[in-house]
């Protein structure tokens, strides 16, 4: 699993408003890449173009190329549904389906494609995914309870389990810990460490310590002012970005001079 991502000169629009301008970068397989930057600089927007979730927003559009192992996501005839199976996503706020039990939540994505899964297979998959998300031990006795009954951190891990159950190649995470307490945050960070053995992971975070802890590479985005588009300022190894950035604004940002 896990694939290489290449972005070429990407512009992202909301209607006529250009939210992100001219981003080009390459993401290695089986690595963790962190996006950092001040609020409104387009981190979320850019992340969502990587699995075509962006176009779910009415009026949103994209110019440029995103290649996953050489296949352009925005090529003609590309089915966004297929893209999203390969590039999974975890959101800022945990969003388990409230009407489903924990078990159903994990199977939600799988059931779409493979409706006639035997109970045994399904059980295996549920256990495996929940194990993968470090949640199995906490919920194994209450798989039939609603997912919304879990704590925030558990819900977020449930969402991760749901995502890995469809065996994607890339997992995108948009500030997955920002709504969580410190203990849950640590649990998720540990999990990311494990997941990167198998998946390509891209994570947006406003917490620079988190970025420096979990990521191999870091991309810093910035914005010149309200109404201006966000830009990729610098993209390099995490250690370089935090210790010896080449741009002044990166240094200002990581040293906490603003944001």
């Amino acid at each position: 699993m896990s694939k290489r991502i290449e972005v070429n000169d990407l512009n992202v629009y909301y209607g006529k408003f250009r939210a992100v301008e001219g981003v080009s970068l390459e993401i290695e397989p089986r690595s963790v890449t962190a996006f950092i930057g001040p609020s409104g600089c387009g981190k979320t927007t850019f992340l969502r173009t990587l699995n075509r979730m962006h176009e779910v927003t009415p009026g949103a559009s994209v110019e440029g190329e995103v290649l996953i192992d050489g296949n352009n996501l925005y090529g003609p005839g590309v089915d966004p549904v297929l893209v999203r199976r390969q590039v999974g996503m975890v959101f800022q706020r945990p969003n388990p389906f409230p009407t489903m039990s924990i078990r159903e939540n994990v199977l939600a994505g799988v059931k779409l494609n493979n409706r006639r899964m035997s109970k045994g297979d399904a059980d295996d998959l549920v256990e495996q995914s929940l194990q993968g998300a470090n949640l199995w031990n906490e919920v194994k006795d209450r798989l039939d309870r609603p997912g919304s009954g879990l704590s925030g951190g558990q819900q977020q891990r449930l969402c991760i389990a749901r995502t890995i159950a469809v065996s994607p190649e890339v997992i995108l995470m948009d500030e997955p810990c920002s709504a969580l307490d410190p203990i849950s945050t640590l649990a998720i960070e540990d999990l990311i460490e494990e997941l990167k053995q198998e998946y390509t992971i891209v994570i947006v975070t406003h917490n620079m310590q988190q970025a420096s802890r979990v990521s191999d590479k870091t991309a810093f985005f910035n914005i010149a002012g309200t109404g201006k588009p966000g830009k990729l300022i610098e993209y390099d190894d995490t250690t370089t970005i935090f210790s010896n950035p080449s741009q002044k604004s990166t240094e200002d940002y990581v040293s906490g001079r603003f944001g």
Binding site: P58, V81, M89, N95, F97, A108, L112, P146
Partner: protein, 314 residues
């Protein structure tokens, strides 16, 4: 809590404005209670003479009150159920179209157009039902009876005018469609984007997204839409009175001239010529109708509350 030593300047009296305002809010709430209570009490008081009346006291009765009201009750429920059967899938379809399929601009205009349907008075639906709809569907009914008469619901003889319970149900369905659509539309629009995106991110098509996120989330709302529609359909009067060939039989057949009447329509038909105890009899049938709608509401609430744990509300 502990008390302080000094007299603080931040002490004040309870504000008169606040008291008056909250008082009148409570009063208004109480008025609802009073009104509903008044409706119930007046209906009951007026009904009591009828409940034990026989054909001796009221010319409208052939035996006693319960024999009189039973076929009406059957017809009321049957017609409303049919109407709901037609209106529910349609309203869900339209609501989905407006909330998730149509382009935004078009959607708001369509919403307005459907809302306009709600404004058409029921007499007009009655006139339309007799003059336009019934003649239009009559050939279809003939075809159904000729070719599918073996199916009990479609048994003949076919009505020569098309003014059957099915036509009445269609008219009712058209009448309850706007209100049901409006509610369904609102709940569908309120589906958290979070959940819709969660489904899409798992690689769901639009329909699969609707199935996994929108419909389960909207289920309680759809149920209340159904209940509201059912309430309207149960209580609709003039259109049914005008469209339906109500002979008072208890039958499930959809396409014949012989159809059960409904409580509301029967009141409208009989009230003008009613006098003495007959009026009480009719009011008593109204009480029964009230109880039925009350019951439907209560059941719906119970159903919703039973599934609360799994609802999107928490």
């Amino acid at each position: 809590m502990t008390t302080t030593t000094k007299a603080p300047p931040i002490r004040g009296k309870q504000r008169a404005g606040d008291r008056v305002f909250s008082g009148s809010a409570v009063f208004a709430g109480a008025m609802i209670l009073v009104t509903l209570g008044a409706v119930a009490i007046f209906l009951i008081v007026q009904s009591i003479p009828a409940l034990f009346a026989t054909s001796e006291d009221a010319s409208i009765l052939t035996t006693n009150f319960w024999d009189y009201v039973w076929p009406l009750l059957f017809g009321t429920v049957w017609a409303a159920a049919l109407a709901l059967l037609i209106a529910t899938p349609l309203s869900i379809g339209i609501a989905l179209f407006i909330s998730h399929y149509a382009p935004r601009r078009l959607a708001s205009m369509l919403g307005y157009i459907v809302d306009l349907l709600a404004a058409v008075p029921s007499v007009v639906f009655g006139l339309w039902g007799i003059g336009v709809l019934a003649p239009a569907v009559q050939p279809l009914y003939t075809w159904l009876v000729d070719n599918m008469g073996w199916f009990p619901l479609f048994a003949g003889p076919v009505s020569g005018t098309g003014r059957t319970i099915l036509t009445a149900a269609v008219v009712l369905a058209v009448m309850v469609l706007p209100i049901m659509t409006a509610i369904n539309r609102e709940v569908f629009l309120q589906t958290p984007v979070l959940h819709e995106e969660a489904a899409l991110a798992l690689g769901a098509t639009r329909w699969e997204m609707i199935r996994t996120a929108v419909l389960p989330f909207g289920a309680p709302g759809m149920l209340s839409a159904g209940v509201l529609g059912l309430g309207r359909a149960l209580g609709e009067t003039m259109a049914v009175a005008m469209v339906l060939s109500a002979t008072g039989a208890v039958t499930f057949q959809l396409l014949t001239s012989v159809n059960p009447s409904t409580i509301a329509a029967n009141i409208a038909l009989s009230f003008p010529e009613a006098y003495g105890i007959n009026i009480n009899v009719l009011i008593a049938t109204g009480l029964i109708l009230f109880i039925v709608t009350f019951g439907v509401n209560a059941i719906a609430r119970w159903v919703v509350s039973r599934r609360k744990e799994f609802s999107g509300a928490n």
